[in-house]
């Protein structure tokens, strides 16, 4: 039991290392430097050069990476030369916004997708199933940068139910916080709903055709009970895997929605750090996202045993 966990952790560390190395390499290929951003267009080459030396940017790339890595391994992600802020502090400040959005979007997507998938799987090919599939296709084909403005138009501008932009922290009132979070959450959740629905529908239809489901039905167990007690749980492996992967992705991938609604999350921080060549901040955020991503996936793997007794038994055997 211990060895597989050690192997998994080792692989995860390797993934994180490769990701941060890749980011360093990619940013080094981009034109412009953070010193030019900090000093502005009027800076002389001498002052830019002096700042690059001060920041260690005149060292070979591997040397810069090694310096960053050794400091990061001791918990020091450095300070942004652009904002002067500690990268760890910046991440901690932004994380609640992104985490809340990702979690709310995921919960909303799962709740809606499960209901839709169950409704679809009861009678595959029925008018209801076809209608739900059509709606799902629409959701899947509408990216957040389209869904956001449409939602803003109807629910903020026409109906005035929600603000167009802005974020109010939960600490300043849960009502205002939720009001500001609803539209971004929905904009993110739409494509997730479609992806989850399609996956779960297919798995449910397969499970409902299994012998044990037929046996339960033969015993006179109600359709609802069969669906939720016997079919849904074993059908949700793929869904949980996808939800786990997507949670990790959403933590770093809500940049469009955060920009669209002016939300102070990790995505906006990452986007601004990239455009200002703030490698220290980018690396800090990337390593954080990579660690979260890997951890979420490990938790997903572990959750299989909780959901399905067959997995627990197989593990014990």
């Amino acid at each position: 039991m211990v060895l597989p966990v050690v192997r998994r952790v080792g692989r995860s560390l390797l993934v994180v290392l490769l990701v941060t190395m890749g980011v360093t390499l990619l940013l080094s290929l981009a034109p412009g430097s953070v010193a030019e951003v900090v000093l502005g267009p009027d800076a002389t080459p001498e002052t830019v050069g002096a700042m690059e030396t001060q920041l260690g940017l005149d060292q070979p790339l591997w040397g810069q990476y090694w310096d960053w890595l050794t400091a990061a391994a001791q918990g020091d992600l450095g300070n942004s030369p652009v904002t002067g802020q500690s990268v760890s502090t910046a991440i901690v400040e932004r994380l609640p916004v992104t985490l809340q959005l990702a979690a709310m979007a995921l919960v909303l997507a799962l709740a809606v997708a499960v209901l839709l998938a169950v409704a679809s799987a009861v009678r595959p090919g029925s008018p209801v199933d076809r209608l739900i599939n059509a709606v799902s296709s629409v959701f899947l084909s509408v990216p957040a940068f389209i869904a956001g403005p449409v939602l803003i138009y109807f629910f903020a501008l026409q109906l005035g139910w929600f603000p167009v932009t802005g974020w109010s922290p939960a600490s300043e009132g849960i009502g205002a916080n939720l009001r500001g979070a609803v539209l971004p959450t929905v904009a993110i959740a739409l494509t997730e709903i479609a992806a989850f629905h399609r996956l779960l529908r297919t798995d449910l239809i397969g499970t409902l055709g299994e012998d044990f489901v037929g046996a339960a039905r033969a015993k006179g167990v109600s359709g609802t009970y069969v669906m939720f007690r016997h079919a849904l749980r074993p059908s949700s492996f793929s869904l949980i895997t996808l939800a786990g992967i997507n949670l990790g992705r959403l933590i770093g991938g809500t940049v469009i929605v955060e920009t669209l609604f002016t939300l102070p999350g990790l995505g906006q921080l990452l986007a601004s750090a990239i455009t200002s060549r703030d490698v220290v901040t980018v690396q800090g955020i990337v390593v954080f996202i990579a660690v979260v991503y890997v951890m979420v996936n490990m938790l997903v793997d572990l959750s299989y045993g909780l959901i399905d007794p067959r997995v627990r038994k197989a593990a014990k055997a």
Binding site: A30, P31, G32, S33, V34, E36, V37, V38, L39, G40, P41, D42, A43, T44, P45, E46, T47, V48, A50, M51, N79, V82, T83, G84, Q85, S86, A90, E93, P149, I152, A156, L157, G160, P163, V164, T165, G166, W167, P169, T259, L260, T262, L263, P264, Q268, L269, S272, T275, S276, R277
Partner: protein, 526 residues
Amino acid sequence: MIRRHGRFAHLAAACGTALLLLSTACGGAGSGTSSGSTATAGKPVSGGTARVLQLSEPRSLDPALTGNSWVTGGFVGNALYGTLMTNDTRTGKVQFKMAESFTTEDGGRTFELKLRDGLKFTDGTPLDAAAVKFNWDRTKDPATGSYTIQEASLMASTEVVDATTLKVTMVQPVANYAQAVLSTTLNWIASPKALKAGRQAFDAKPVGAGPYTLKKWTRQASIELAKNPDYYDAPKPYLDSLTIRPALDTKQRIDTMTSGGADVAIETNWKNIAQATDTGYPTVTAPLSGGMYMAMNARRAPFDDVRARKAVAAAFDFETMKQSVYNGEGKAADTLFEKTSPFYSDIKLTQTNRDAAQKLFDELAADGKPVSFTFKTFPSTENRAMAESLQTQLSRFKNVDVKVKVVDYADNLALHATHDFDMLVSSANFIDPESRLYSAFHGESRANMSGVDDEALNAALLKGRTATSTEERNAAYKTVQERLAELVPGIFIGRSAPSAVTGKNVHGIVLYGEGSLLPEQLWIQK
């Protein structure tokens, strides 16, 4: 009057913003041109909170590290640090605030800055001549990394005469240096004690003597300010607090404003200003001369040949671009100065003449110099549309080829140093031409993006800078206009529109310098 405050402001203007709309009506409450309903204003009342949308967020609240214009940190800086002086954006007349005077007796070789007596920062330390010296010397120091270094570097030295008097010696005579001070971050003085504590500490608790103090800064979300009860100019500020949020996206900004999500929006987009005006939201706009222009790099082919620059300029039609980029809104910059400027003359910078353009393209091709160039543009919607509009317009002509390449902010900054471009968007916005016009087009200026280096133009720019009488300046700037029309270093796309759009119950909108909005005069009718 308006001038330059660093290429950063102009870069930001070119990068993130569009052009502007100048309304024609003259304005009630504000300095600038205004439109909309402002008639019911009456006497200012105290109290309330204003939600303000701005076009960008400062990277730091250190006054040396931000910019004093409508597209940068003008509003926040004015709120935290107050102003030494302001000006009337129509007449250019300097109005003294925390400074009592800024005078020269020798044609701009030296100046004497006189401060009000008894000014104090919110940490209790005095805002005196020593504090101004500390701030100005610091801005001039390359190690600070200030975007105002060009203007600060016009000062050779500063000397404290007494607690309220600072003597400034210039590198060369700059008769209108007050305009440079008030339209840049030199206008903001922060507590030396607080600045010495370091950048992180200062950003957490910036200390000035302005009408507001920082309550909370959530980066990329909001800056919350509270009234400074010890502000020197009581009963201002009228509002108890301000909540400032960045709103970079054009559509998002106007949507937030018209849905009641903001009380004031600092604005720059023609379409938004027109939409706000059409729906009855009062707007105030500073009448800037100059504008955004497509700089053609005269340091290398094809634009090292003036015929190539003239050909592209003659092929360009502003009205076509206006339709495709701004839905028909916008104002052409066909002359260098606005009609309201004392330096205005009807010298057309460029004129559309398709036949002449084709003739020049053919002539260049026959000489073995076909016009082929790359337009490097910012990734914003407006700037891309602008580049693509020019590309489309030139596609009608033979012997010319245009490619469009999108570059981001950092890449663009690198281009300012390397000059590795054929064409890119820059800007030269000003009311008084000092000092932006000089830095944009003088042959020895680092900010001269086109790289034109013309003896007559350089001499005229220098004369305009050093001359003390309006007549002399007029003559010098007439020569500047003639030389720019002849040399065509760039194609002016349109005027910029530093503006403020307000809710119908918001009053006291005053812009100064390069469209910098003053917070202390804002008030909300209850």
